[in-house]
Symmetry: C2
Subunit: 880 residues, 2 copies
Amino acid sequence: MAKKYVYLFREGNASMRDLLGGKGANLAEMTQIGLPVPPGFTITTEACNEYYAIGENVPDGTWDQVWPALADVEAATGKQFGDKTNPLLVSVRSGAKFSMPGMMDTVLNLGLNDDTVEALAANTQNERFAWDCYRRFIQMFGDVVLEVEHYLFEQILETAKEKQGVRFDSELSPESLKWMVGEYKKQILRSTGKPFPMDPKEQLQLAVLAVFRSWNNDRANVYRIINNIPHDIGTAVNVQSMVFGNMGSDSGTGVAFTRNPSTGEKALYGEYLMNAQGEDVVAGIRTPQPIATLAQENADIYKQFVENSQRLEAHYRDMQDIEFTIERGKLYMLQTRNGKRTASAAIRVAVDLYHEGVISKEEAIMRIEPQQLDHLLHRRMDGEAKLQVLAKGLPASPGAASGKIVFSAEEAERQGQLGEKVILVRTETTPDDIRGILAAQGILTSRGGMTSHAAVVSRHMGKPAVCGCDALKIDYTQKLVAIEGVEYPEGSLFSIDGATGRVIKGEVKMVDPELSEGFKEFLGWADEISRLKVMANADTPAEATNARNFGAVGIGLTRTEHMFMDPERIPIVQEMILAQTLQEREVALEKLLPMQEEDFYGILKAMEGFPVTIRLLDPPLHEFLPHSEELIVEITKLRMSKSDPKALSEKESLLRKVRALSELNPMLGHRGCRLGVSFPEITVMQARAIFQASARLVKEGRDIHPEVMIPLTMGKEEFVMMRKLVDETAQAVMSEQNVKIPYHVGTMIEVPRAALLADEIGKVADFFSFGTNDLTQMTMGLSRDDAQGKFLPIYLEKNLLKTDPFVVLDRDGVGKLIDMAVKLGRSSNSGLSLGICGEHGGEPNSVEFCHIVGLNYVSCSPFRVPIARLAAAQAAVNQG
Amino acid sequence: MAKKYVYLFREGNASMRDLLGGKGANLAEMTQIGLPVPPGFTITTEACNEYYAIGENVPDGTWDQVWPALADVEAATGKQFGDKTNPLLVSVRSGAKFSMPGMMDTVLNLGLNDDTVEALAANTQNERFAWDCYRRFIQMFGDVVLEVEHYLFEQILETAKEKQGVRFDSELSPESLKWMVGEYKKQILRSTGKPFPMDPKEQLQLAVLAVFRSWNNDRANVYRIINNIPHDIGTAVNVQSMVFGNMGSDSGTGVAFTRNPSTGEKALYGEYLMNAQGEDVVAGIRTPQPIATLAQENADIYKQFVENSQRLEAHYRDMQDIEFTIERGKLYMLQTRNGKRTASAAIRVAVDLYHEGVISKEEAIMRIEPQQLDHLLHRRMDGEAKLQVLAKGLPASPGAASGKIVFSAEEAERQGQLGEKVILVRTETTPDDIRGILAAQGILTSRGGMTSHAAVVSRHMGKPAVCGCDALKIDYTQKLVAIEGVEYPEGSLFSIDGATGRVIKGEVKMVDPELSEGFKEFLGWADEISRLKVMANADTPAEATNARNFGAVGIGLTRTEHMFMDPERIPIVQEMILAQTLQEREVALEKLLPMQEEDFYGILKAMEGFPVTIRLLDPPLHEFLPHSEELIVEITKLRMSKSDPKALSEKESLLRKVRALSELNPMLGHRGCRLGVSFPEITVMQARAIFQASARLVKEGRDIHPEVMIPLTMGKEEFVMMRKLVDETAQAVMSEQNVKIPYHVGTMIEVPRAALLADEIGKVADFFSFGTNDLTQMTMGLSRDDAQGKFLPIYLEKNLLKTDPFVVLDRDGVGKLIDMAVKLGRSSNSGLSLGICGEHGGEPNSVEFCHIVGLNYVSCSPFRVPIARLAAAQAAVNQG
């Protein structure tokens, strides 16, 4: 017997998301709790997966289950599919487990044909409505199911309007619409070689297949990669009887959130349009009315809707995003789902729901996607800045951005790859623009509301967006936008403020974000729950202070080379590198010592009370010298001009040194503690700077905890040698200064061999810090800089890697090695402190991994500290 | 109670090498079996190790044990230390577990002072002899123990000869010698601030300390690094009563081997000098007599010596290297040890001893150091070549070499680092020259015999050497050598033939070595005993044939990129790389296909009956393009001259492509199967070439076994994708050609992640080949090319790594990973074939490791196949 591939709405419930998809499960749940949902059924995700498994064929038995389900819908609605007097019309919609807004295809009004359109006209006594439905259906079906180019239908629409001499679609007469239907059908025959199918069952079969196919289209694949959604979970297909919001002025359609999705404020928030179909609202083509207006326009319907909304929020225990339709004065609930929201709204909703007694602290913690917080931690416009406001639109997604304006997604992507900051300016956006949105700093549209595609996607991605800014007159062909008569060509600098909707000329100064009280309270709960501590990577006192403000309990990584790169110091650093003898080198080091001492003094003081992990010099020395190619150009010029033999000789000498230091694979070259092995005097200088700074602070009564970290260790022997240099210097300074300094010496674990020998190294080290950037490079044999621009995207596209291993820690390979090192290290040193200081330290999935393998802390950039705190708490809730 | 640190010779035996060192254990053994050994005792290696452990202090109780042992020697010899009538004189010699010839220090005639010298003169009735002993003792003690510069004594010696007006040391009168003793003592007071010690016990204590210290001198450290001798085993000190070979014409000293150390021929082979001390023979200062001459000169002594020698060989069951002294007509045996021998001698001795019934096949196998075979497998002079022979010396170490002549070890080292081939030409060599000898292709000396330093060291290192070539007149200051009046400056091209002793002008054509019958028989025994199979790395049919001749049972690695590098093909390869479209690339690949097919046809045919493992294209594509720096110079010139805008534009375009392909860390970049993932058409072309060649051979009735190897795999998914391309191409060719081709598809394991995920990959691969070069680079985070010239020597010097991990496989780290991968791979695929194809495959210690972890085969360069076969057999004997 075939599997059950088809579920009536009344057969399912909210727990069946895997099988019915999010939309299907919620339609079933709403049906179960007695809300007015138009009857329908769901074809399962299993059917979709089976479809791909057997080479894109609908699995046996599917249609045998669809037709009885359809009969059930016919019985419930009293209508019949293809019936010439009372025809059933349905929508066919995709719906995966995870919401992928706009990524897959939808067909409405399915069931219309030359016969049923007449019945619809007769039953509604509205010929115009019926033919408008029909022409919309053919257009949508032609586009989505038959894959006829969209613009071919648009051309016919434009011709019809020209012929009739009208400006808006809504002004088209029934005759024009009928003419269009004829032209549409001709176009379909021309484009596909087959007539438009008149049999509603054939229409349904083709539409279901199109939804299955849409799972694998380019847009959907990209969306899944960006959002880390697996490719193999498939989509369900929802077939639902149609209700019409465009049956006249007593009909309408809308969407609403039970709380404000931008701020989290507890108030119904949404928009509706009378005499419109659902897609009109979200597509942003007409600017809709705020939901509150409905209370005046139709108090009864509004009351029903409010009750239903409250019931749904209470039922789901979370803020809901609800779609509804009013058909001739009757309210239907078409969809509910947990509403997408900005990060600040998400926090407010979670904190409020806790205080309302609806959810626990743990549940509150689990309600926020940590990655979303990133958004709150970005910069916003300086309140002091004087702004030349050009226009104002809807505050569609908070945050602020400056950049060059561009008018196409392709251009945004191109410029983005060149490192340019751009604002994507469009009349409206569509799912095809997804890569451009991703590449842009911010989005600005001239049409569409708070729930338009641009707004929803921007909020989700944490990009600032201003939508529905009518003042913009965009001319794509000339690549310019006119505002109040002034033209701005592509490349003009604009700023947008997604919190207020302002569009501003030029670049605007931004300021650092601060945490709201609610946010602090929320993160406090996270810390109560977490087992991992969160530290920060910081190289300056200012960064350290910043990190403290974001809740970091120490510094997991201070990169001393950033101090070497200071323009005032680089000549001294070069002097040290170019030294021919130990004596010369020591002279230069002597000059660097007081500078480094000041650096460490500042940072240790800023982190008083917490550990500060200072990594000794790590990069290869040639990074501090000029690039050989520049020198070659200069030398070739000097040789040809023969004008300055002295300069030539100096440049040649410098080039020789650069060449002597240059390496084929610098990542695996003369760097890390290998520098200290070759030039112990550099290590001694750095250690002296650390302990002299520490001694001063101890004398000032400060509670400081320097932790000296040896980079690129590959075995016990070299660690012992380096540790000896550090310990001896510490002893010397402590006895010179007559103070005691509490300190530790530990190592990075970033070379695979060090992980394999962690038991040996653990015996002599106080702590391990996994440098997951380099550990990933070496374990996977991937040079990050080379891979990310070149072949890594191909690996992700071809599904040879699940995620970019430099973003999400590779648990299978790198993770296995870390797990091994943790066990080996603890086996020989039970007091070993273990952490991670790669960029993975602020990435939620990787933080969860760190929790699972039992690290003591993660360390990440200051702005990611709140994300890591939340991720650590979620890991504790999820993993125990 | 203190440990027993001192053993009389009669208390020890040959099994106590660890404790007594090789020399001490053998002196004890000779004493035990009743040979005439001058009495003495040994201070243990434990005492030396303890000396270092407690900060260079002689451990408590040592002297308390030394004095009674000395008393025992006094009793045995009837002489007394410091006695004014019958004084005991002793030698003090170092002696570690492993022989380190000339690396540490020796003091002779210890016990002489102003009083005992008179007694010695009276007792021997030879004033000249006594004072010559005394001045030699002071000079040696001053140099070795008191660390006074050697040349200061030489100056006094030269002055004495001038004053007396003589040419040779032996002509110096007693008066001159007495004058010299006075001057030597003054020099010591000047240099050290203390008088020369007159107390023999103090002399002995200082000498023992000097031997302990000598364990850690620079020469000894370098020797241990080169010879893989651990640094922590310490040296013993042998204190032995002196006998004198220089007491007149009835005294003498010599060294002899029980068989010929160059050929292995069973005949006593050695040299002696009458009226000389032992050091005179080995130092090569006077050219000694062949041992056979002794039969005429003193038949009785010769007979005793032959008997003793035969007894020693039978006792030790191996060829012996024996030192003896004749004091006033009485024979003393001073030392015996297993004799160093050339590789061909070693094989002949082992094979002969087996056939003589002395040792088993297993013992024979264990008698040869595999590394030594390298020497037999190098090229020799072409018998057809016309040679301009300039001179003839002793055939001191077989093999032939050509190179530029240099006159100092430093210059040899410097030129060697620049990749120059040099012949080191010296009057004689000393242990200080060790680095120069290592860097040279061959050694040529004008003085010294077959047992001189140059000869012994060269034979051990497998370097050709011609010694004692009197015709050479070397002028170090002018850097030239004169032969029969013709002067040859430094840098002149010479060749030497160590098998005949010929010195030849210019470069000589060399021919490939062949295996002797004895060698083949010997290696046949090895194969009977081994568990590992030995394959070869070969890229051409000629190399494959060579490998077969050396006993390879297949090819473990064919590098297809070497075929791409062919000068005729490189333009087509570049065309492929620079292709803008898939179509363009396929046009170029179409041209490469028939060429690659011919390559594979030849190599598969040459290895008929055995597997041939073909690795798909591995290096990054930019390796096939010109270097960016060259292009930049050309472009800068073209820009400045403004002469040829077209050429400029072409070069600029090429530079852009070179830059686009250039990588920061190419080792971890776009190479290996990543090329196939990006450009599957390249993989398909290579697979097609392999299978089309195979199909032709199958049709010709050949028994061929192609094995397709995917490089740089990091996970299962990419391997599956690559395997699919190969399998599909194989299927296509087999059905086009209607043949069946037996083939396998496997992977390199060279990325640490692949080793960690070996269970996953094992499920879908037919074989693993550990690419230990890259696996070492990635696991240790070491770029081979960058490390070896720069910091790796420092790591070896500072003992942070035991051996160069690119020469000897790093068992601790890389080995642990391989072991893990072997277990994981076999756990998921019991039929998995496992091998190694890095350069470690021909290195004995690494081969042993491969045996231990249970690999199926090793693969190495053809010339190393015999070494690997022997090493594999030894591993089986040692490890079971």
